[in-house]
Symmetry: C2
Subunit: 692 residues, 2 copies
């Protein structure tokens, strides 16, 4: 949930299928299969080792996670700062440790296009009367636990907002959505040259300025509303350090960029050896006008005319991607990926260090098991996934597991992912104990849905583009999932945990208010590690492809609601081909699962047959990619999950084309997006078909 999505610590474990984590007692039995049979005959057929799973989960230690977090969040570690560089060393030392290290670990340096405030000239929002300034917003949060006084706390700013000092009448523009500005204009308000004050939420950060500029707004101020983040609590004594609520001085920093990925090198690694594109080719999607975030204490004070003073600077700085590897023993050309970013806005105890703390505990246990006699065949090597990630990852990745913020709150598991991830997450969550019931049962109690196939089950959420999985799912089409603990929605309506991206997101905050005892961190570590081992060690990938059928049905059904279908029909467009394609998908997926059942019953199925089936599972998600589908939304290629601006709940390209056609009459675009969806679904079905 932070801004430097490209970077961060990714464990690239080439772990698929009886990986390099087989315990010693799995050694090839002497005799039994006759002389002459090659040794691989024994190993290629191994399946998941349940006792290994149990052993892993038993060893996950909440105390160790707490220690990790304390170390990780001990100081601010914004990207490319000293604190961040020290974490690079910490990660490498853990993963290269002789006792608990992985097979190998390495760092890879990128030159990334970033935006920072000017330490000499702080940004502000100021009120002046007759040329003299009568008020200016604070330069940083109030110091309440000493952490906020750390010299490396960065002043609040909107990353990528341009510098400038626009002055104008202050206009309240709600959430800065296009419709919000439009409403003001319709009320007869001239927005030209105004400064819009907007609250966080509703529209993406950058969009508040992008939308405002369209109406002539000269500057944008963004504040955190206590109603959105604090369940209404606005007084100092009700907030941190007395509760988890955000103090009045807290300011949410953030990346003000619509798209993910490095702005200067879209599609290419931001490496020194890459010529790059030149700044002239920066895509849109960042604020065109000066923008500044402030706290609600300051927001109350602003009146009439204000001046927004932004002195942000754009620079290219070096930053490292740190990777650890466990080599697969049988299929080192299949990757199970696990990742998170490393950099924070300030101390970042929750975002992202709660995720990093969990990652370090998982790798500690796996590393220890490796050293205690697991089989690791073949050489260890350094950076095998270098800058040119994309083609290799696309061809070889089985799944991507994301743990960014691992604990938002300690009430329940919350998982998001594409449908094939559901089966493996469920299997894992059922095996992880909670205080009174399994993690699975507790999850179902908090978030459930009625599945046509399974009845009442926990609700697996959809992936957006807000975290580090974005390029894996949207650009590479790799089955992805994001796992965390989160709120009881009966107890809070906070938009996100209140200290998010502020100087109050500290170890103390996490330790006292987010997860005292770190049991939720432990539950996440156990669940995620279990998922990872299942993906790496199962003979047949534990991703149930037929679960995509329910999602397709749901998206299709949304297109038959309200006026949608009638408007299509009025323009000679039929949903028939789409319905047929989805029916075909479901039927082919059911057959596919039947074949897997039979294969599992065979005494010793051919390794090539197993590989064939696993490739079909792995490549299913790729079949939904279409690089031509959304030419204006860069990095988005996944026809089912691309972002949309329409509020129609159907396939994203179809939804946007439909909403736009209602205004412009361009039904050819709707026809085109219908074709794109039909082809994607047919392609997916085709991937699962039996071989001729």
């Amino acid at each position: 949930m932070s801004w430097l999505k490209i970077l961060g610590a990714v464990i690239v474990g080439a772990l698929l299928l009886t990986v390099g984590i087989l315990l010693g007692h799995f050694a090839i039995p002497k005799g039994g299969n006759g002389r002459g049979a090659p040794s691989w005959v024994q190993t290629v057929g191994r399946d998941l080792n349940e006792s290994l799973l149990q052993s892993f989960m038993d060893q996950v230690d909440s105390g160790k996670i707490r220690e990790n977090l304390k170390a990780l969040a001990s100081q601010p570690h914004m990207a490319t700062t000293k604190g961040d560089e020290e974490l690079v060393k910490l990660l490498l030392s853990r993963w290269q440790d002789p006792q608990i290290g992985l097979d190998s670990a390495s760092e890879d340096v990128y030159g990334v296009f970033l935006s920072f405030p000017d330490p000499q000239r702080p940004n502000s929002v100021a009120v002046g009367v007759c040329g003299s300034q009568i008020f200016s917003t604070r330069r940083s949060e109030k110091n309440v636990t000493a952490d906020q006084a750390h010299a490396d706390v960065v002043q609040p700013y909107a990353a990528y907002a341009p510098p400038g000092n626009p002055r104008g009448r202050l206009v309240y523009a709600n959430q800065g959505k296009r419709s919000d500005y439009l409403e003001l204009v319709n009320m007869g308000i001239n927005l030209n040259g105004t400064v819009a004050i907007t609250r966080y939420g509703g529209a993406g950060r950058a969009n508040k300025a992008v939308n405002g500029a369209e109406f002539g707004v000269a500057g944008v101020v963004v504040y955190t509303d206590p109603a959105d983040i604090n369940d209404g609590r606005a007084f100092e004594e009700e907030t941190y350090p007395n509760s988890w609520y955000l103090p009045p001085s807290g300011v949410e920093r953030g990346s003000y960029s619509v798209y993910f990925g490095d702005l200067l090198t879209p599609y290419y690694p931001a490496k020194g050896n890459m010529p790059g594109q030149g700044r002239a080719l920066i895509h849109d999607g960042i604020p065109p006008i000066p923008t500044q975030p402030i706290g609600f204490e300051d927001a109350q004070t602003l009146i009439c005319d204000v001046q927004v003073n932004v002195h942000n600077q754009r620079v290219i700085k070096n930053s490292s991607n740190v990777m650890g590897f466990i080599r697969g023993s049988e299929e080192p050309d299949r990757y199970v990926l696990y990742g998170n970013h490393r950099d924070s806005w300030v101390h970042g105890a929750i975002d992202p260090s709660s995720g990093t703390a969990v990652m370090l505990e998982i790798t500690r246990v796996l590393g220890k098991m490796l050293k205690e006699g697991m089989r690791v065949w073949g050489v260890h090597r350094g950076a095998t996934i270098p800058s040119e990630f994309y083609s290799k990852l696309r061809e070889r990745s089985v799944a991507y597991i994301n743990v960014d913020i691992s604990v938002f709150a300690n009430a329940t598991l919350r998982a998001q992912g594409t449908p094939p991830a559901q089966s493996v997450i469920f299997a894992a969550a059922k095996q992880v104990p909670g205080s009174s019931m399994s993690v699975y049962d507790n999850w179902r109690n908090h978030f459930s849905r009625i599945s046509p196939s399974y009845g009442v089950i926990p609700n697996l959420g959809s992936l957006g583009a807000g975290s580090d999985y974005a390029s894996f799912i949207h650009y590479l089409g790799i089955t992805s999932m994001d796992i965390a603990y989160t709120y009881d929605r009966n107890k809070t309506s906070a938009r996100i945990y209140p200290a998010y991206h502020t100087a109050f997101d500290t170890f103390d905050y996490a330790d006292r208010f987010i997860d005292p005892g770190f049991t939720s961190h432990q539950a996440v570590a156990r669940t995620v590690g279990n998922v990872l081992l299942r993906l790496a060690d199962s003979l047949i990938l534990p991703l149930n492809v037929s679960d995509y059928g329910e999602k397709l049905d749901e998206l299709y059904s949304a297109a038959t609601q309200g006026d949608f279908l009638a408007n299509l029909n009025a323009n000679n467009l039929s949903l028939g081909p789409l319905k047929a394609a989805i029916g075909q998908f479901k039927s082919v997926a059911a057959d596919f699962n039947q074949r897997i059942m039979k294969l599992k019953e065979e005494e010793s199925p051919s390794p090539l047959q197993i590989r064939m089936v696993n490739d079909q599972i792995m490549l299913l998600e790729r079949a939904f990619l279409n690089p031509q589908a959304f030419p204006n939304q860069y990095y988005y290629s996944h026809v089912i999950w691309a972002s949309k601006s329409s509020d129609q709940a159907t396939f994203p390209g179809l939804a946007d084309a439909y909403t736009s056609a209602l205004e412009t009459g361009d039904w050819d675009q709707v026809r085109k997006h219908l074709t794109i969806v039909v082809q994607a679904v047919e392609s997916a079905a085709s991937t699962l078909e039996a071989m001729a």
Copy 2:
């Protein structure tokens, strides 16, 4: 070399690795490997059977190819006509024959956007004086062998040219290149409202009109120049039926479309169930003004003012793709593809039936061998590669072999392909006997180059976009090759065989002038079949990836010639990263080949190790794809082979961006394309790296 590139007969054989064509004597030996070892242990390790190759080649019969051609070219079979539909039946009956059929065969119907002349109102180019017409071009070729009088001979036309009757002053515009028109304008000639007469060659067919329209030209006439096609012979007695030269009345028809693929459904199968895009979204790349081809007899006669009368109609008509399958016994999820289009312009004896005749002979022999005791495991199924080709083909195809025109002339083999195809074509050509020397030696005598690695070898040409391999290589990134027999360039300078796309391209023409005795057809069939069996049956794919290094060096070297490097440097652009990336590729590819050597020496390597290496070979070509590289050239994604308009002999995107920057100063685009190439080469290297 015809226009309906999407269609045609594709043999989709899922044949990789010990395919369904192993002879009975390869049955598993009883005993020997001990009880208990699964039966697949024996079969997964089988390698190419050389005696099978020999048996195949011995059975290829030139007489049968001649019979095939006679049947195929017996009547005109333009796409969607009765003659074409009869060929669908013929292909299906051969491939479903109980004695010589394949494992299965099927047809798949598409609704394709086509253009035809109006039979009621023939197109013409007419000369009038004071309102009365004094001359009009002929409606069809002169009847010299009865074939030309066949009722189904389509009148000459430019497919996709719009209807219209522009009249204007006739201006000779050479080949209709942009530079040709520019030269006229620079000479002070006002092209506005003129009719340009251009000769075939130089610019693509459609471009003659696209370029002319830019300068105000109202209509375009295209004629065949005897200097280009007939080695200067222009008199009737020197031409067919007295020689292979084109009679004065011959007119080259053709598809006037810049891009390949169906115009109404780019990127999507032109199937009835696809909503499609609406005609409003047709891409550019077809003539914007009326255009008409004529023969050189008529071209001589045209003077001063002419009127171009075009009555072409655009329609959507059904046409079938016919596919035959041989199922692979071990890895049915790996495809070796072999294809050609089926439709002709008139009788199409050479284009495309010479290719189809060869295809039918190859499948006859393979089918017979299958029935005579080859092992075929598993079910046979119908259309396994349905409309949504793309994702399946991209994930699973080992290579695509194209044989369109199989014999242009009977002097020498001519092969084009991407570098990995070189090794397998060489291996095959060395085994095929010619009259006095092997096909390989004869080829080297006609077209040779000095390779830094191998010394003097036959020159493997580059693939353009002019035949049925276009979407396989440019859009899907599948290693592709095109194989034919062709001219002795010491004996003719004909742009192509003279009867190309005219009513003189008949069986009689082929039988008497192109390949009397059909020995060249036989040599092509043997070479191609040998290549196909090697690709399908070798344990490790016989595609030498390191041969890409020479091509990369060559393209790089072109960027260091002349002013190129100086101009780059003057704009702060360095070729250093590209040089480093190519060096890295060559080193990684050499290591990869070393590992293969070692693997081959192992007594029984694990099938998963073999598969891993084969996947690296198969996916190498895909690593060069970048769907974002050429956003304005649809279907083109291959960074090494995309089409270019610049005459700089380096990487296509770089060449075009450079040429354009010289005019516009946009060096950021050059920087971007340098980045694209560096990333593609690094990606390719990364694909071949040893697993961590």
